[in-house]
């Protein structure tokens, strides 16, 4: 069993720097778990604690049923892929791949076979006699991955392995890692700050901020129901638009979220959930993809002025200004074209809009429709 359990794990650097605070996370056996967050949020430190490269100040770390806080990294049977690959510069690719097995005095034939298999799997067969200095970034990354694969560990720990690759290579490696996971079925813990990686690769995402876990869940779940404004603003690009608004009465027994000229009537199904905030300030969250340039059923129209139009090819990102000075990002179809400065009527889907409590930044819970 290779599930990894972190129970109230803390990491404090003297004198009082809390890098990781009260982390509780259960990574299931065979799961592809993503640790996502901005720089300095503690995700790499958490990964290194799992690996054993950092000591755990307090709390428990379990691998299966075994408490491994005090187990040397050598004996944990985990493999880590570093952001900078950490290849042995003086050894050939073959020697890099076989190092772990050679240390354990595996028979030569076994080592050759295993190295050959992994090299084949990752497409680095031709590079076996080269040294790291003679490899490109992408090739080095695959050797680093290969080194982890050869060891056949119970779980893989990846520390931002794709960060140093260019966009195209990154996209390719993302797919390869997903396929690898499907092939091997081993637990993978993947640290990244890139939310595209998180959304596409993870079976579950664990979002961290300032050393604490903010939300854990499957990517779409976290995306659809962010627990607070931080998560809402972090996932997806462009992120959710967040506006200061007020919940005002709207017709008999109705409510509307109002931000200057923008007035969105709350669907009656949500009325009860938001009742407690009637008359109070709220944070109004509108996703760029929930805005349209054509009338949609139930869409709430509002007037805006175009600031910029980014034609990406398959879609267009529009930044529009509304009364009161705020700007919204909208994700529109590839056919959309307009000149900056011209007025534009946009439509919002009120069912997708989310409200957050301005004091706690938490999302106001509402029923799932």
């Amino acid at each position: 069993m290779a599930d990894i359990n972190l129970i109230s794990v803390n990491k404090t650097y003297p004198p009082d720097v809390k890098a990781v605070e009260d982390v509780n996370l259960h990574i299931k056996d065979g799961e592809f778990m993503i640790l996502l967050g901005p720089s300095g949020c503690g995700k790499s430190t958490t990964l290194r604690m799992i690996a054993g490269l950092e000591s755990i100040t307090s709390g428990d770390l379990y691998l299966g049923d075994k408490r491994i806080n005090d187990v040397d990294p050598r004996d944990r049977n985990l493999a880590i892929v570093f952001q900078n690959y950490a290849l042995y510069p003086h050894m050939t690719v073959r020697a890099n791949l076989s190092f772990g097995l050679r240390l354990r005095r595996q028979p030569r034939a076994t080592i050759e076979k295993r190295v050959g298999e992994v090299a084949e799997m990752l497409g680095i067969r031709d590079l076996l006699n080269r040294k790291p200095a003679a490899l490109s970034g992408g090739q080095r990354q695959r050797v680093a991955l290969g080194r982890a694969l050869v060891r056949d560990p119970v779980a893989f720990l990846l520390d931002e392995p794709l960060s140093n690759l260019d966009a195209k290579l990154r996209a390719g490696m993302r797919t390869e890692l997903i396929k690898l996971h499907q092939q091997l079925g081993r637990t993978i813990v993947h640290v990244t700050h890139d939310q595209v990686e998180a959304m596409t690769m993870g079976q579950r995402i664990c979002i961290m901020k300032d050393g604490r876990i903010v939300q854990v869940g499957p990517p779409l779940e976290v995306y659809r129901n962010p627990v607070n404004t931080f998560v809402a603003g972090f996932l997806a690009s462009p992120p959710m638009n967040l506006l200061q608004a007020r919940l005002e009465p709207d017709g008999p027994g109705g409510l509307a979220a109002v931000h200057d000229g923008l007035r969105i009537a709350i669907p009656s199904a949500y009325m009860q959930a938001y009742a407690a905030f009637a008359g109070k300030p709220v944070i109004l969250g509108i996703r760029p993809e929930d805005m349209y340039d054509e009338p949609v059923m139930g869409g709430v129209p509002f007037e805006a002025r175009i600031v910029t139009v980014e034609a990406l090819g398959p879609e267009t990102i529009l930044v529009a200004g509304i009364d009161g000075g705020s700007e919204l990002s909208a994700r529109l179809g590839r056919g959309f074209a307009a000149r900056p400065g011209s007025p534009q009527r946009l439509y919002v889907d009120p069912w997708q809009v989310q409200l957050f409590d301005p004091e706690t930044t938490l999302a106001i819970p509402r029923p799932q429709i």
Partner: protein, 296 residues
């Protein structure tokens, strides 16, 4: 380059100015180093003794005479033994200490300073101090070992021991040279291959053998070569402590040259041996230079 100078008058002025600034220093260097060097080369081919000063050309007689000397072979052998002993022992001690210092976090500067101090002392002073310490009757070393019941040792007067005494004093003096260079090399090593090695299952010893040593190879080679070159030229310790004795136990080549010139009074032959020593040192230096170039 000439083309560049024609097109770039400012560059040429810069170079001229550079030459002008360095000219005095360069002249001094030429006078003090190159001059005597060339003179020695000349004298080595001439029959010149302090008893019969003269400039009769003698070709390679001085060189042949040097090799024919009984004690020249002995001196070479003692020098080789000394250099090998000193470099190897200093390397082993130096590397061990450097490894220990590398993992120290507190008071590193204090240890560093204490270990560095012997190196800063003038070699003549080092030799004088130790000569006094090692005096068989009045020296503190024999006093201290006497306290634990060990009989007095004739450190510098016993032909079997004197060589090792000189080796030990040289180690005391110069080991921090190794420590500094090796420590600098160790602290410049990247951290991540070591973490990778730990994850791969390497013990501390395995990481040392498979990662530290290979990555330290350039630093180790350069350090050994530099120390070797200086060890060949050791003079002060012998001159002050043993005068090459007892017998020829500590007759290092540099002292042998000195003896030939000022006791044997044969400047011509001493010059010849100096030239031989110069060639050896030059060869080592050239090798060091080429090795360092190949690293870049």
């Amino acid at each position: 380059m000439a083309t560049a100078a024609r097109i770039d008058p400012i560059g040429r002025n810069d170079r001229r100015f550079g030459w002008a600034l360095t000219a005095p220093g360069l002249t001094a260097l030429v006078l003090v180093v190159a001059g005597p060097l060339l003179w020695t080369l000349y004298i080595s081919t001439v029959s010149y003794t302090l008893v019969h000063p003269g400039y009769d050309f003698a070709g390679l007689d001085n060189y042949r005479g040097a090799f024919a000397e009984d004690y020249f072979g002995d001196s070479l052998w003692v020098t080789v033994k000394f250099v090998v002993a000193v470099v190897i022992i200093e390397f082993l001690i130096g590397f061990t200490v450097a490894l220990m210092l590398n993992s120290v976090t507190r008071f590193k500067d204090v240890y560093y300073l204490i270990l560095l101090m012997p190196l800063l002392i003038n070699p003549v002073v080092v030799a004088q101090i130790w000569r006094m310490f090692l005096h068989p009757e009045l020296g503190i070393v024999n006093y201290v070992i006497g306290l634990v019941g060990v009989p007095k040792i004739n450190w510098l007067g016993d032909a079997r021991i004197a060589f090792w005494t000189v080796v030990l004093v040289d180690i005391w003096h110069q080991v921090s040279f190794m420590i500094i260079l090796l420590l600098a090399g160790l602290s410049a090593l990247p951290r991540e291959p070591f973490e990778a090695a730990r994850m791969d299952g390497a013990t501390t010893l395995q990481a040392f053998l498979h990662v530290t040593l290979p990555l330290m190879r350039p630093v180790i080679v350069v350090t050994l070569l530099i120390r070797l070159i200086f060890a060949v030229k050791t003079f002060d310790l012998v001159f002050i402590m043993t005068r090459g004795g007892p017998g020829t136990a500590t007759d290092l080549i540099s002292y042998f040259i000195y003896r030939s010139a000022f006791y044997g009074l044969d400047i011509g032959q001493a010059s010849a041996i100096s030239v031989i020593l110069l060639v050896v040192v030059l060869a080592l230096t050239a090798y060091l230079y080429r090795y360092m170039r190949s690293l870049a």
